[in-house]
Symmetry: C2
Subunit: 247 residues, 2 copies
Amino acid sequence: MIKALHSANDMMIRKLESIFKLTSEEEQALRDLPIQTKDIATNQNIVKVGDQPGQCFFISEGFTCVHKVSAEGKRQIIAIHVPGDIPDLQSLHLQVLDINISTITPCKLGFIKHADLYQLCDRYPRIGAALWRETLVHASIFREWLLNIGQRDAYSRVAHLICELMLRLKAVGLVEEQTFKMPITQAEIADASGITPVHVNRVLQALRSDGLISTHRQQITIPDWEKIQQAGEFDPLYLHIKQEALA
Amino acid sequence: MIKALHSANDMMIRKLESIFKLTSEEEQALRDLPIQTKDIATNQNIVKVGDQPGQCFFISEGFTCVHKVSAEGKRQIIAIHVPGDIPDLQSLHLQVLDINISTITPCKLGFIKHADLYQLCDRYPRIGAALWRETLVHASIFREWLLNIGQRDAYSRVAHLICELMLRLKAVGLVEEQTFKMPITQAEIADASGITPVHVNRVLQALRSDGLISTHRQQITIPDWEKIQQAGEFDPLYLHIKQEALA
DNA sequence: CGTTATATTGATCATCTTCAATGAGTGTGG
DNA sequence: CCACACTCATTGAAGATGATCAATATAACG
């Protein structure tokens, strides 16, 4: 574990800047925030159900997923997190974790002690409010996923998931020319969509042959944004992303 | 709209007391909180997608549900709220609502202005933290619903929903002798579970004939808590209810 | 270059949907 | 007090989306 006083803090600042304008004092406080960075390989558990962590973590690079496992051993991916996200922010106020969080690609994570976050929120209420807001945005995404999984057919579910990732990655500058890296296996798409891997494969083939996506390795290109949006019944309101961040 | 300076405030105090011990100063602040009570009939919209409310509401009596509608007109119930809940607390920090909230029984609601809540959170950070925590608990429930709808069969989904409502109602004193009022139509259970009303009916019959529930009007009795818990793969961890509240 | 993970294909099966009709319960007004 | 209307619950039959099982092809990786 190496102490890095730069990239992770800068990224955190950029994240909050996308929510509201920081004062120089607030910015300095964030710059002084002790963050321990750590590299983690693919498919490693970061935290799991029942844990009582004393810290949160921030994603600098890579993707993680939140998941729960049913008594029958079936896994539901609840959320996919991308650089800039703080997947277990909830642990600040909920003692016991009710979820597992794992890496789905190699990740660079920044760990921040709860004590430091409490202090930060206390001294700079606007930062506290922004972090609260952050948890609310993620809750909003859970709600949309509920609609997606509860009411849409497999084809739309997968299209919707692709649309969401596209926009969220765009908001952090990871999309170029309608193309982005989506380093997620079909089995993971399946667990995130509540369908089987076999069926995901068939749906992806349909999406390709309908011209909604084209893939090369794990690169996805979206030739016609309007069309896939329609197929996925995608309306980005629920992401609560500022327009500016998508320009 | 009548101004009531008693019941709603008391209930809010009781709610927060279940999270942490209030100081007398905090309690007084809550007692002084202006709350406008309002009675609303069944099946009325309270707020809807796109609204930008300047207030939150607190449920004193009755049930409400949060729902979203797909482009194809299918409705997903995202959450069911019971007395003591603040269903749209998120609007404090997210300008535009991404959900609809409606009554599913006649309700007595208490409206609290955002401005007053901001002030309260500012002056009494522990109350702010408790409200933040409240939104996190609801997010946790969304996550469990995702697992429920994404990975479990219809029988388990309905059993799980019944278990959850039972415990949440118990926590606010609305369960007696394993019996409680669940004033929800089968169509609503269907929309909450991602199955059709017809199938809900069949599942309920199965639950009855398996001895997991018995119903009389909208009263549900659970003869064997262990058994239905198992059928629904129900583990109350995700509700983050203190043990004391269920004793 | 062998080994493992991931993607793809085919065939059969089942849960749940859809459609359509009937029955029961609740409330209202004449 | 009954008739009517309305909502909600229940039943039956047929159909479809997606699951399951099993095998193979392809890609990734040390």
